[in-house]
């Protein structure tokens, strides 16, 4: 009998999106385990099949977002898990931690800035075009709405070749414009992966769009009809978590 795959949800002081992340993972049929950076041990950590670093403000964004968390013991363990190509998802502050730690190499999330004007903290729904070059986004070759909620989300790279985009800010029709780039990111990038494709570092929040009822009316004006038939109707980002569940189940079968 196959055991249900377990995803470790890594917690730092200041993480604040762990409940939604847990809900999105369990909705996709995955088991989860809390991994508090301050108390979990290596055996607990290694028992997980994949890892998610949720959004928040780890260590109050001291020094710069994700910088202090990236020096922690649990991130050393995460580097080892990455060496074994376990799936790793970093959302918002998790994305910043993956960049700061070098798990996503040669990448920095700088303060939001369009042109020479700083924009400050941004909280709004945007559109991204998605590429299917990670275990999380296989089969998603489309434009999807998604919320962003960050002050330091502008992707910078050491060299252009270091950027492996997975999601790029765009208009609803998929056109990439300066106007659709809310934070001034290089190449409109909203999410990147590593060379192996097992890591997804994304600034937008997929856990806030895994159910249809999470979408605002101006994004999904016909959701009332859908929800009347099924209050738990999956939203546009359920597929990302479903892909992870499929990947982990497939891995379990092939290793059984």
């Amino acid at each position: 009998m196959l055991s249900m795959a377990t995803v470790g949800i890594i917690l730092f002081p200041g993480t604040n999106c762990e409940r939604e992340t847990h809900a999105a993972l369990t909705f996709a049929g995955l088991s989860t385990r809390w991994l508090p950076a301050w108390s979990c041990d290596l055996a607990d950590f290694n028992a997980c099949d994949a890892y998610v670093i949720p959004g928040g403000f780890s260590y109050q964004d001291r020094v710069r977002a994700g910088a202090i968390a990236a020096t922690s013991r649990i991130v050393d363990w995460l580097r080892a898990a990455n060496d074994h190509q376990k799936p790793i998802l970093g959302i918002c502050n998790g994305c910043q931690i993956l960049a700061q730690s070098g798990i996503i190499p040669n990448t920095m999330l700088a303060a939001n800035q369009t042109g020479t004007q700083t924009t400050g903290f941004i909280c709004e729904w945007v559109y991204v075009s998605v590429s299917s070059n990670t275990v999380f986004t296989q089969g998603i070759e489309t434009v999807l709405p998604i919320p962003i909620n960050h002050g330091e989300g502008r992707f910078l790279f050491k060299t252009p070749a270091d950027a492996i985009p997975v999601m790029q800010y765009c208009e609803p029709d998929g056109t990439q414009t300066d106007a659709s780039n809310p934070n001034g990111s290089t190449q409109n990038i909203a999410a990147v992966t590593n060379a192996a494709g097992n890591v997804l570092a994304m600034m937008p929040h997929p856990e806030r769009g895994y159910l249809t009822r999470q979408l605002p009316h101006h994004i999904a004006p016909n959701q009332g009809t859908i929800l009347k038939q099924n209050p738990q109707a999956p939203g546009p980002w359920h597929v990302l978590f479903h892909n992870l569940a499929t990947q982990l189940t497939h891995s379990s079968v092939t290793h059984a």
């Binding site: 260590y59 109050q60 001291r62 020094v63 710069r64 910088a67 202090i68 020096t71 700061q100 040669n106 990448t107 920095m108 700088a110 303060a111 800035q113 042109g115 020479t116 004007q117 700083t118 910078l156 790279f157 050491k158 001034g184």
Partner: protein, 156 residues
Amino acid sequence: MLKIYTWPKNTDLHAISAFAALKNQPGLKALYRFGIITLHAEKPLDTQNVIQLLTDYDCLINPNNTAFSLTEPEFLEHPSYDSYCLNITDKTPVSYSDRVAIINQLGVIHITDMQHNHAWGIHMQAGIHESDVVDTIVEPLLVNTIGETYTLTRGR
């Protein structure tokens, strides 16, 4: 041109966390995080007017929680340790035109431009080589060279 040095009146949690994260680096004795605001003007600025601006208005700092000095702060020097000033600049230029307009509307001083940089004071055990400070303190944590440049200068 006039430089204003700013730092928190309360305990600086940024500095505490950075120090804790770097605790295994040999020779590190103390860290101080501060800001450097550089004001540009066509005529020399009256320092008393600048002090009035910083004390009575919150257009540059919040005077309730931020201390300031028009000369280098004392924590940049130490009688026993080697001290360094790390000055960090974003590679992407930032415009402060909105802030300049607000300051000029107040009428206390008149400036043409301004910049704001983050900086760190670093105290090291005497004898640690400067390149080790860069390799163990500066580039691993305090500066991200992908988006930032820096200068590291030795104190007196």
